[in-house]
């Protein structure tokens, strides 16, 4: 299960991440359309579902799934493009 970590603090977060050493190993995704629900008969609401698999140093795999609206997905995509651009330059 996922344990909540303390609020982002740069130095401490680094220590914790080193201790955890979780590595992203896989990403799976699904693009779907919410058609109907118990509160709205007609929804027509697109969403993106992502599942991330991470491995600890022992090789044990954990997975984390979450959902995003389209604007949230676009924001996420933008973040990752920023990360890639930075990693190109270091």
């Amino acid at each position: 299960s996922w344990e909540p970590l303390p609020h982002w603090d740069s130095a401490r977060w680094c220590d914790l991440c080193e201790a955890l050493c979780l590595q992203l190993v896989d990403i799976q995704w699904k693009l779907g359309m919410a058609v109907s629900s118990d509160t709205c008969r007609s929804l027509n609401c697109p969403y993106v579902m992502v599942m991330l698999k991470v491995a600890d140093p022992s090789g044990q795999i954990c997975q984390k799934s979450f959902e995003m609206t389209i604007p949230q997905f676009q924001n996420l995509h933008s973040h990752f493009k920023d990360i890639a651009a930075v990693m190109e330059t270091v």
């Binding site: 996922w2 909540p4 970590l5 982002w8 740069s10 977060w13 680094c14 914790l16 991440c17 955890l20 050493c21 979780l22 590595q23 992203l24 190993v25 896989d26 990403i27 799976q28 995704w29 693009l31 919410a34 629900s37 118990d38 509160t39 709205c40 008969r41 007609s42 929804l43 609401c45 697109p46 969403y47 993106v48 579902m49 992502v50 991330l52 991470v54 984390k64 799934s65 979450f66 959902e67 995003m68 389209i70 949230q72 997905f73 676009q74 924001n75 996420l76 995509h77 973040h79 990752f80 493009k81 990360i83 890639a84 930075v86 990693m87 270091v90």
Partner: protein, 192 residues
């Protein structure tokens, strides 16, 4: 969750004729959509000078009617007016219809926000480091990304779950490839 509005519900709505003002009708319609509460029911009983059980029936009937309007996305006066029995008080019918139309867009937005879903991604923080050495390699320059994702169980949930992970250049490329495919599929769907 009942969305069928019955003759008994409309009969209970006639209790609105005891309202002290149109604003009181508006207030009870809007509050009832959120669902019953003991305090709200007691206040309604006092304000309308009706019994608590009558107030509870009125609130439940308004709740059923407003949920029905949202569920079926009734957006025109004609659609809502058609729900009422022919014998229903004409002015009250028009007032209730007007109030439902005023609020239905907001209620639909709230319903969309409160759908059941997987945890919602709330926040993403990241940092890029340059690994310069390790126990096995004395000198190197390997970029790595530390990524922290926070999500909530649903859009209005305050409890946040956090996961932190490290991404190598390869896993970042895999992530970008996947996100690019999602973006391409969204473009295809949008174009249809």
């Amino acid at each position: 969750m009942a969305t069928v509005v019955t003759a008994e519900h409309f009969s209970n709505l006639q209790l609105l004729l005891k309202a002290p003002s149109k604003d009181a009708v508006r207030e009870v319609c809007v509050q009832s959509h959120q669902g019953p509460s003991r305090i709200f029911t007691e206040n309604t009983a006092a304000k309308f000078n009706i019994s608590p059980s009558q107030a509870a029936q009125l609130v439940e009937s308004l709740h059923t009617l407003s949920r029905h309007v949202v569920f079926h996305n009734l957006t025109s006066p004609e659609q809502i007016l058609a729900l009422f029995p022919e014998s229903f008080h004409s002015s009250l019918k028009n007032l209730i219809t007007k109030i439902l139309l005023e609020n239905s867009a907001t209620w639909r937005t709230e319903a969309l926000s409160n759908q059941i879903s997987l945890p919602q991604l709330k926040e993403m923080d990241w940092r890029v480091d340059l690994v310069t050495s390790s126990e096995s390699v004395s000198r190197m320059a390997v970029p790595t990304c530390l990524l922290q994702l926070k999500d909530t169980r649903c859009r209005h949930d305050e409890a946040v779950s956090t996961v932190t992970m490290e991404l190598s250049r390869e896993s970042l490329d895999t992530m970008l490839d996947g996100l690019g495919r999602i973006r391409d599929q969204l473009s295809v769907v949008a174009g249809k």
